[in-house]
Amino acid sequence: MCLGIPGRIVAITDASRKLATVDVAGVKREINVACIIGDRAVEDCVGDWVLVHVGFAMSLINEEQAIETLRILTELGEAQQEIAAMRASGRM
C-alpha cells in the first residue's frame, strides 16, 4: 500500500498551482506541494526533502528524526556487542 519515496525539490514550476519539480536519484517529476508548504511561500520549499506519493509531496522529511532512528540502532549494536563480549567471557 502507499508507495512513497524520498526526493528533493529542485525547482518551482507553477507557484499558483503549487507545482514543483522533485528529483529522485536523477529522475525528475512535477509534483504538487500543497501538503508541505504550510505558511511558507511556495518558493521556499526548494531544497526540501519530501516523501513523494502519486505525484504529491506528502510529508517534509524530518532529518533530526532520521538521524535519531539511526543513532538508536547504532547504540543497540554497541549494546549487543557488549552482551556478546560478556557471554564470551562467561559473565552471563
Binding site: L3, G26, V27, V54
Partner: protein
C-alpha cells in the same frame, strides 16, 4: 580456395527510381505499382545499398562457399519489432530491429552475416521518418558488420498497425567447436553480465510519456557480436550466452535453472545498476531484475575461467561494467534466487505478465 567477393555472382544493379515526392505514406505505396517501387527505392534500397540486395530479386542469393568460410553450422533467427515510441533516447525501432536480430544470432556463437527487413507501415506515416529509420538501420548494420539483403514492404490502413512494425530475420554461421546451450549449466559455474541492467526498459517507459517522468536514461541498444567474439576468443569454454531482453535478467536466470535442472543464485550487491534506473524503479515500484535490456548478455562460464571471461568482457567498450553476479548451485532445481543487499534471500521468479507500476 579463394574467398568469393560477396555479390560477385550477381547481376548488375538496377537503376533506382527517382523517389517519393509526397510527405506521407498512403495505401498507394503498398499497391504493388510504381508508388510502391518509389517508396522501396527511396527509403530502403538507397539506405541499405549493397551488392546482394541491389538486383532486387524476390530472394537474396548467397554463396554457400562464402558462408562455409565462417564455420560449420548455419544459424537462422527471426524477430519482430513493435516498439512504441518509434524513436527513444539511445535508439529507434530501426537500430533495435538490427541489434535484436544480430544479438539473437551472436548469442548462439554465430557470426551474423545477412539480415532481411520487412516493414509493415500504417498509412499516414511521414516518409521522412521512414527515411531516417532506414538510415538508422543501415548505420546499425554497418556497425555490426552485416548486410540487409532482402526485404518486403506492406502498407496497411489506419489502425491496422501502430505506425510501423519491422520484422528482421537473420542468418549467421556458428564457428566450429562452439556449442552454447541453456542446458549446459552445472553447479559451480559462474554467471556474468556485461554491464548496467534495465536501461532499455526504463528508457522506453519514460519515453512513452504517460508517467511524465524526466530522465537521462538511454536505451542500451547495441550490436553485441563484437563483444561476444572477444569473449569466445578469450574463453571458448563459455557454456551459455543469452541476451536479457523482455523479462530482463530474472527471466534468463529462470531459463538457465529450468533447462539445466540446477539452482541459480545471484548477489544483489554485485548487480551493475545505474543510480537513475534504481531511482526510476523506486518511484514506480518496479523491480530492475525484470526490466528489458537490448545490449546486455547473461553468460554462464566454468568457475575456472570466470575471471578471464570477465576480463575479456570488460576490455570491450560494450562491457566496461561487466560483473560476475552469481553462480549455479545444485538446487533446488529450476529455482533462481537472490542474496539481497540487506542480507536476506529471496526467490526470483518469472513474471506472470507485464510488470506494471505499483503505486498504492
Amino acid at each position: 580456395m579463394n574467398k568469393p567477393e560477396p555479390g560477385k555472382l550477381l547481376r548488375p544493379q538496377r537503376k533506382l527510381r527517382d523517389g517519393v515526392h509526397v510527405a506521407k505514406v498512403t495505401l498507394a505505396h503498398g499497391g504493388g505499382g510504381k508508388a510502391m517501387r518509389d517508396l522501396i527505392d527511396d527509403v530502403f534500397v538507397s539506405a541499405f545499398d549493397n551488392p546482394v540486395l541491389a538486383p532486387l530479386e524476390d530472394q537474396a542469393r548467397i554463396s554457400l562457399a562464402d558462408l562455409a568460410l565462417h564455420g560449420d553450422r548455419l544459424a537462422f533467427t527471426s524477430d519482430s519489432f513493435v516498439v512504441d515510441p518509434l524513436e527513444f533516447p539511445g535508439g529507434d525501432i530501426g537500430k533495435l530491429a538490427i541489434c535484436g536480430t544480430v544479438n539473437d544470432l551472436a548469442v548462439g556463437g554465430a557470426k551474423p552475416l545477412y539480415l532481411s527487413c520487412s516493414a509493415i507501415i500504417e498509412e499516414g506515416v511521414e516518409v521522412d521518418l521512414l527515411r531516417k529509420l532506414a538510415r538508422s538501420m543501415a548505420e546499425a548494420a554497418a556497425a555490426a558488420g552485416v548486410a540487409i539483403v532482402t526485404g518486403d514492404t506492406k502498407v496497411v490502413g489506419h489502425g491496422s498497425c501502430d505506425k510501423l512494425f519491422i520484422n528482421t530475420a537473420g542468418v549467421g554461421v556458428i564457428r566450429a567447436g562452439i556449442d552454447l546451450g541453456a542446458h549446459r549449466a552445472e553447479p559451480g559455474d559462474a554467471i556474468l553480465v556485461n554491464g548496467l541492467l534495465g536501461d532499455h526498459g526504463a528508457a522506453i517507459l519514460a519515453a512513452r510519456g504517460d508517467l511524465r517522468l524526466e530522465t537521462r536514461i538511454e536505451s542500451d541498444c547495441a550490436p553485441l557480436n563484437g563483444l561476444i567474439d572477444a569473449l569466445l576468443d578469450a574463453c571458448p569454454e563459455v557454456k551459455f550466452i543469452r541476451d536479457a531482453t523482455r523479462g530482463g535478467l530474472a527471466t534468463v536466470l529462470n531459463e538457465i535453472a529450468e533447462a539445466s535442472g540446477v539452482g541459480v543464485e545471484i548477489d544483489e550487491n554485485a548487480l551493475p545498476l545505474r543510480a537513475e534506473v534504481a531511482g526510476f524503479c523506486e518511484i514506480l515500484g518496479l523491480d530492475p531484475l525484470y526490466l528489458a535490456n537490448e545490449g546486455k548478455i547473461v553468460v554462464v562460464a566454468p568457475a575456472a575461467v570466470a575471471e578471464k571471461a570477465r576480463a575479456a568482457l570488460t576490455a570491450h567498450p560494450l562491457g566496461r561494467e561487466s560483473a560476475i553476479i552469481g553462480l549455479v548451485t545444485d538446487g533446488p532445481a529450476g529455482r533462481a534466487s537472490m542474496r539481497t543487499k540487506f542480507g536476506g534471500k529471496r526467490v526470483v521468479d518469472m513474471l506472470v505478465g507485464e510488470q506494471l507500476p505499483r503505486i498504492c
